[in-house]
């Protein structure tokens, strides 16, 4: 792996949180709390809008990650990549109609035996106010066996 890439920041992905996308994602993960399924229930529970599920940033990252996958200078064999570790931290919930900006930065790269580890942080901010919304720290492993 190319450890010179540590510290590299990619372009921001702008993402508009759509109501139906949130409903679709909530359904796919087995979320049944109505604050994630319709606006009226979220308002009744005291939220300003329908809420996106905790792991919703994954949807944005499956777009913003494409920049890393296309970056051949990293020296990662993406055919053999599995999730190693994931940490999602929130400053505030994500709501329907939020316009967000997700920016990935490589924070660590290392090789251990036959395994390559890539750790990157994706900072998600409100595109209008610039306020931090959440961040995701992900470690990917390129390997020969094990992991998910």
């Amino acid at each position: 792996v190319n450890t010179d890439a540590v510290g590299k920041t990619y372009s921001a992905t702008v993402y508009e949180v759509g109501r139906q996308k949130v409903v679709e994602f909530a359904g796919a993960i087995g979320e049944t709390n109505a604050i994630y399924l319709d606006r009226a229930s979220a308002l009744a529970a005291g939220y300003p809008e329908q809420v996106a599920p905790f792991t919703f940033p994954t949807v944005i990252m499956n777009i913003s990650d494409q920049q890393l996958i296309a970056d051949h200078t990293l020296g990662i064999d993406w055919e053999r990549v599995v999730d190693g570790e994931e940490e999602i931290s929130y400053e505030r919930p994500i709501y329907v109609n939020d316009v967000l900006r997700a920016t990935p930065t490589i924070v660590d790269m290392r090789s251990k035996g036959p395994l390559d580890f890539l750790t990157f942080r994706t900072d998600v901010v409100d595109a209008t106010s610039e306020d931090a919304v959440c961040s995701v720290l992900a470690t990917l492993i390129a390997r020969d066996g094990g992991g998910a």
Binding site: G27, A28, I35, T55, T58, D83, I88, P93
Partner: protein, 131 residues
Amino acid sequence: VSTERTTVVEGIDREGLVRYAGASGDYNRIHWDPDAAREAGFATVIVQGMLTMSRVAVLLGAQLDRPTDLRSLRVRFRRELYPGEPLRVRATTLESQPDVLELSVSAEVIRDDEVVPVLTDGLARIGAGDR
């Protein structure tokens, strides 16, 4: 005093994997193409790690008055999970203060009469209050 709670999350079928692939935009073949999964060294298609993490987050949120009080969750993906396998999720209180609660989280399956760790080193932070 630490308290431990174990909850079983029912197995996710293959249709659930395909549905999650479409909803999340993760089209990795090892989650829907058995040949690709076997080539990668698995017995068959495996559940997306982020789907497993999602199920754990849903479970933790459901145990809170306000599910958005779940402020952070970290997991390590240790071993693969196969469709249909019930996941045993364990959450143990580490630290409890007036406005923050920390839980250690792990998840495992029983496979061939053995306990197989799926998620380890999990940490959830729950904070009450307005945001």
